[in-house]
Amino acid sequence: MHALLGICGSIAIAFVILITVFLVMSGVPAIKEIGIINFLFGTKWASTAVEPSYGILPFILTSVFGTAGAIILGVPLGILCAVFVTKIADKRIGAIVSGAVDIMSGIPSVVYGLVGMIVIVPAVRSLFGLPDGANLFSAILVLAVMILPSVISVSETALRAVPREYEEGSLALGATKTETIFKVTIPSAKSGILASVVLGVGRAVGEAMAVMMVSGNVPNMPGIFRSVRFLTTAVASEMSYSSGLQRQALFSVALVLFVFIMLINIILNIAVKKENRS
């Protein structure tokens, strides 16, 4: 029994190795053929052209800008909401808001995409007088909403973990409650809040379906009101009809995405470790 359970125990490790091996094995050949510089820094993606060109810089930059935008909009809102739930609201209202956040985290990403497609895309189009509302800006708005649940729940945990003595000390020295929250509690919860931001980055980088439905899905270099394609949507949108080098290049895009996610995971682990130590 011990051995059998040992096998079960190590299966998570086996899966991580399996995923890594398969991604590297299928992603490396195309990078070799195209050349790593041309692949990573080429600005033109035309996989179905007569003379195909496989540069994924547009995807990388779109993912970076899209994620940054979602973080800039979503993180302050999320942190403030976490402050509300943990420090300002009375228990009942706090529980209602917490419950709402839980529900948000359970809603499937395609549903966010659908609402984005029907509400946000036309709104962006008419608000800014654009020919098409499916662009980076709409994707940023949808992503900002989608990262909220992770940011809020991790920030909540971090804020709750701040020792009461810190706050009591600040209050005793004459600071008001709000001053205490913003000058003592939030700075003390810094590393936990940072972890929530990194988690939000991971969510935003990895989101595919919702972004696919609102970003326009054209391999342009990113611009705020341009139709764009993310790393995730690049993989998803061409996979069903791809073949040959094009298909292999898509695996390479997935490999690049995987490397990004792994880096984010490592940063997250370091942030969490720091939190545990302090």
Binding site: M1, H2, L5, C8, G9, S10, I11, A12, I13, F15, L18, I19, F22, L23, S26, P76, L77, L80, C81, F84, V85, I88, A89, I96, V97, A100, D102, I103, M104, G106, I107, P108, S109, V110, V111, G113, L114, V115, M117, I118, I152, G174, T176, T178, F182, G202, G206, A208, M213, T232, V235, A236, M239, F251, L257, I261, I264, N265, L268, N269
Partner: protein, 289 residues
């Protein structure tokens, strides 16, 4: 009284900050309420009995989502049948057997890594491993196996949490009465940890119902009716509710159907969410005893 000592500027600053905090919480609640209301209003009028109990027919120009409902159930079933024993076994190993702290840390790290990988990568790897390498073809079973890897971390974590809450005195009592280690786990530890295992399952079901990117290239996009036997055999492709909603909205522009499915998904999410909360409450009560 004590407020008199605080300057006007500080008072204003405090009030403004407090206002901003209230506003952001209100904004989030308003956003969610608006979204739920919008989806239900657009979706519910299109949910009819025929819609729920028929398959789509091009001849009669009708849409029905029964195949998708069945596919979702098949995938949930197949995924849990494989993931449950693996996940629970893994948690038992971590909590009861493993002596080497480094190995435990490594396994936990691997589980964390798995839960951080985006679902589109799971979809791709699932396609490479199960559809092509294991030559299962685009099929429900390939999709389910992909979701096994995805849901494993959730099941391991919740089971481990609830194993931690089983008091050591139970274990000592059982061992003291002469039972073997596995017998002790099977008859004493596991029954006391059932609630945690169940809530892990519910969370996993929630994830499976909401998943789309990982299933698009593994389980396929077909809307055909499958029997249970066809569903578990290689080559039986079919789309779940979420995938079919994506197809209706993005590929066919049939937003009425898409909103109807979205409304169903939303209601399912609410049910799963409250069931998970309910079992979590039971779990808490169990540990207080």
């Amino acid at each position: 009284m004590k407020d008199d000592n605080i300057s006007l500027l500080r008072k204003i600053k405090g009030a403004v900050l407090k206002c901003v905090v209230w506003l952001s919480a209100a904004a989030i609640c308003f956003l969610l309420a608006g979204m739920i209301f919008f989806i239900l209003v657009r979706g519910i009028p299109h949910i009819t009995l025929d819609f729920m109990t028929q398959k789509p027919s091009l001849l009669n120009n009708t849409v029905g989502i029964l195949p998708n409902i069945l596919n979702t159930l098949y995938i949930i079933l197949m995924t849990l049948v494989v993931a449950m024993p693996l996940g629970v076994g893994s948690a038992i190993y971590l909590q009861e057997y493993a002596k080497n702290q480094k190995a435990v840390r490594l396994i936990e790290l691997a589980a964390e890594t798995l839960s951080g990988i985006p679902s589109i990568i799971y979809g791709l790897v699932g396609m490479l491993i199960f559809v092509q390498f294991c030559s299962l073809g685009t099929s429900l079973i390939a999709g389910a196996l992909t979701l096994v890897i995805m849901t494993l971390p959730t099941i391991i974590r919740t089971t481990q949490e609830s194993l931690k809450t089983v008091p050591d005195s139970y274990r000592e009592g059982s061992l003291g009465l002469g039972s073997g280690k596995w017998h002790m786990i099977r008859t004493v530890v596991l029954p006391s940890a059932t609630d945690g295992i169940v809530s892990g399952c519910i969370l996993a079901i929630g994830r499976i119902v909401g998943e789309s990117a990982a299933l698009l290239f593994t389980a396929g996009m077909a809307n055909e009716m499958l029997s249970l036997k066809e569903a578990v055999s290689p080559g039986g492709a079919g789309s779940t509710l979420t995938v079919s909603m994506y197809m209706y909205a993005k590929e066919r522009g049939d937003f009425d159907t898409a909103f109807a499915i979205a409304a169903i998904l939303l209601i399912l999410t609410l049910i799963i969410n409250s069931t998970a909360k309910f079992t979590a409450k039971l779990l808490k009560k169990g540990t207080e005893k």
